[in-house]
Symmetry: C2
DNA sequence: GGTGAAATTATTTGGGT
DNA sequence: ACCCAAATAATTTCACC
């Protein structure tokens, strides 16, 4: 069941919208009154902007960022996956079904998929990859640090 | 006023906490009363749990997920970066300073960094990478689709 | 887009299981 | 640790300008 229903409307965002998005990205729970103060509008106008951004699909959802370590995931790996001939769709399905793959992109080039894997321990790596290696060649890199954690792109 | 001081306390999360996190990840704006109903607790207890999860650093922050296409980023690339001898720290700084790099991990193996790049157009690729290629070899893959968009790992 | 009152919602408190 | 219920306080929503 894939979501992504809003077709990413080609919208024109003004400076106020961008300021709103930046403020919400930093703290999505701040009161509308404070958001309003930050962007220099009244609270109702601000609330309506936020609703519009949601309806347009600019804001995909309100969510929480969770520390994976708190869930016991002490390791992360980036895995490049190159399916064997004829195994492309199957490999994609396998990856989708393994919840420890928290992210996967299909890309151009020799490696078909680039995925992010959360692990409780290094032993789990083989355990999980074994479900993939029957159908693909993999190349794994262990994350040592994260110089840039998921951040907003420039809004300007 | 920055927050994010909690060092990812090694905490024990019970089933209720996990259910809360899942519900909040899906919709961080639902009223405490509804959260409470979902996890089978009273509203005050639920509110306190959420506060505790925040204080512990399990919840890093409340945020919004923004559709990059709405910001005009119609293209994504995964870039592997292998700094030239002696350029490692400088390359890391350069990447950090280019806001279109929305994510970057330092990993084991031949390629030192694996990064995600948001682009307005394919022309922007060279424009941005030129700031890196003076100091590193790069290998770029364009994202064609995203079989798994950022999701929660298993909470069990 | 602004204003101000009504309706929801969250928070706090006290007492109890 | 949690529940309940009530009081307080805050926020969002809904008229209308």
């Amino acid at each position: 069941m894939t979501k992504r229903l809003a077709p990413a409307t080609p919208t024109t965002l003004d400076e106020t919208d961008r300021a709103l998005l930046a403020a919400l990205a930093a703290d999505a729970r701040q009161p509308v009154s404070e958001l309003a103060r930050r962007v220099g509008l009244s609270a109702p106008s601000t609330a309506e902007r936020v609703r519009r951004l949601e309806a347009q699909g600019v804001i995909e959802r309100f969510t929480v960022q969770i520390d994976p370590r708190a869930l016991g995931f002490t390791l992360q790996a980036i895995v490049r996956v190159k399916p064997l001939p004829g195994q492309l769709h199957l490999v994609e399905d396998v990856i989708r079904r393994i919840p420890e793959f928290v992210e996967c992109d299909k890309v151009t080039g020799d490696d078909c998929f680039i995925c992010r894997l959360y692990l409780h321990s290094i032993e789990q790596l083989d355990e999980i990859l074994s479900k993939v290696t029957e159908r693909a060649e993999t190349s794994t890199a262990i994350v040592k640090s994260t110089p840039v954690a998921r951040r907003l792109p420039p809004l300007g």
